[in-house]
Symmetry: C2
């Protein structure tokens, strides 16, 4: 059993903790939390061991939340620490993980050089095997890499040009905007997503542009992928529909927006209406000579969760990436084929 | 003096009417309205002649709005009718304009075959001279054509790939959505915008993809334009900054979103905070080999208004497009260079 600690219990941390509880080969040592908010109460209700920093002990005590110990106690018990602290904070914790001799995963908000390798399960599981520090790329980069490494199986990709329409905030984030504006973010081109894809697919010719829109549900990517030899629409749909962690939203099913995709996830009984899968709008898949066009939606809160689970196995020396992906998918009910 | 009647007094019609009142060579015969709403009251207050259909006479009378006559009376008085009725309704009115021997403009919501030529002032003014029926392309297509015909002066365009992030509704439209969703619209690729650009630039290799976002202010386009010979960023900025009807939003000025662009329009005292100009995010302009990338914002309510004014002159036989554009710009305070 791989003993896993989750440092940070926010959007990503709480989902990774739930996923670890569902794995047959992992145990959850506990999670750490800095503030005694509703998520901390919820963790306590679920019987998850809560660890806090020394400085927060009193605050949690006053809030009536029972803590198991301090952060260092949790890390000591773990084989692997999943760092799910806010952007940039992970790099500061690296010293702690390192001094305690622990393997650690970082999230995509950290710079690539925080880790030995940036990770996307379908692209480069093998590279992460037995590494000490692995960075699971961000939600948008995970979406891009999952798509590109899948399309690459149809025909080698020569060039990618893409637009990312970013969700403005997660559903729980009440202090972020915009409410009624489109915000190029960044205004400069390329956006950092292209560079981040290059941390995994090092020589790929990719340019991305990004704009933030006032929505909380999902990101949408619109891609123009030039491949090295002509392909058909059927070739593309065939590989997309047979690859786990990718779902197709058919026009026939009248799922034509991110809101309807999330409604399906709710109807499916998905925890927190999470969609670990990329959802491709089937009608958008088109081919023009060597160019493949497609649009898909990325659930920013959950798409990286199965990636974290696989990365835990990789750093723990589990060498069979295909098998890890299968185990993760089976335990979390992650599908392939059609959304409905 | 060119006598102009405006059929339809909604988002576009009321703006075209205001623009006509500002032209030294045009008079406004009047406008027609189907329902006695706040826009009709406002027109009455401004002293604009209101015409209605026979069926609406009673309704307007009951609302206390004085009408000058019926629709046919207005058309009879005019040299040119600007049709600003809802999408698809213009085609039904064509028979009326034709039977009364009038020249007419249609808007971009009509099919291209409603008119002899589709129109964008910077691209093909000459083609519209003396034509009986001209279609002013939609706001998004106007934005695309204005950009492309300007970039074409730097280096001949070989290929265009673009994403259009569409505003969901105009500020006054309270029954439209989405409120919190991204909607591929259409989900199929290419979107109709590419086809519409081809009504003016007939042989251009262009593919567009479109997604609707929950915002009311402006559209945003993200373009990847392949040109036939290498250019520099300075070449591109030079032509963009010296072309009227295009403004640059500089990073220095901290205008980094559509909301801030509209705020500048309000501060400038623009009527209805209209921005007849395309607004290019200066920091987005970048060049990579033969590819030019850029992002710009399109004010959907007003960008076509100066185009309508020029098209009125063209169908009236005014042959000098450059001069018409200058007259329109001067009368409406339309600028070039930097937004601030």
């Amino acid at each position: 059993m791989i003993k896993v600690a989750v440092n940070g219990y926010g959007t990503i941390g709480k989902r990774v903790a739930s996923a670890i509880l569902a794995q047959p080969d992992m145990t959850l040592v506990g999670v750490s939390k800095t503030s005694p908010n509703y998520e901390a109460y919820q963790a306590q209700k679920m019987g998850i061991n809560l660890y806090v920093t020394k400085e927060s002990l009193k605050e949690f005590e006053e809030a009536g939340i029972k803590v198991k110990g301090v952060l260092e106690d949790m890390i000591k018990e773990a084989d692997v620490v999943v760092d799910a602290t806010p952007n940039g904070v992970g790099a500061q914790y690296k010293q702690v993980y390192s001094s305690m001799g622990k393997r650690a995963l970082f999230q995509g908000g950290e710079k690539a050089n925080v880790a030995d390798v940036s990770f996307s399960a379908l692209c480069n599981y093998d590279e992460a095997v037995d590494k000490r520090y692995v960075r699971v790329v961000s939600c948008n980069t995970t979406g891009l890499l999952r798509t590109l490494c899948t399309l690459n199986r149809v025909s080698k990709i020569a060039k990618v040009r893409g637009t990312i329409v970013r969700r403005a905030a997660d559903p729980k984030e009440v202090k972020k905007g915009p409410i009624n504006s489109l915000v190029p973010d960044p205004a400069s081109i390329p956006s950092h997503h292209a560079k981040d894809v290059n941390t995994v697919l090092k020589d790929l010719d990719i340019v991305t542009m990004a704009v933030v829109a006032p929505t909380t549900l999902m990101h949408v990517h619109l891609l123009d992928v030039t491949v090295s030899s002509p392909v058909t629409k059927e070739d593309v749909l065939s590989v997309l529909s047979s690859t786990p962690r990718i779902l197709l939203a058919s026009g026939k099913s009248k799922v034509s927006s991110t809101a309807e995709i999330v409604e399906v996830a709710r109807d499916m009984g998905r925890p927190r209406n999470d969609l670990y899968e990329l959802v491709v709008f089937e009608d958008s898949v088109s081919v023009r000579g060597n160019e493949v066009f497609l649009m898909y939606a990325v659930h920013q809160e959950s798409i990286v969760v199965p990636e974290n689970v696989d990365a835990i196995r990789a750093v723990s020396g589990f060498a069979d990436g295909r098998k890890s992906i299968e185990m993760t998918n089976a335990s979390m009910g992650i599908g392939k084929g059609y959304l409905v």
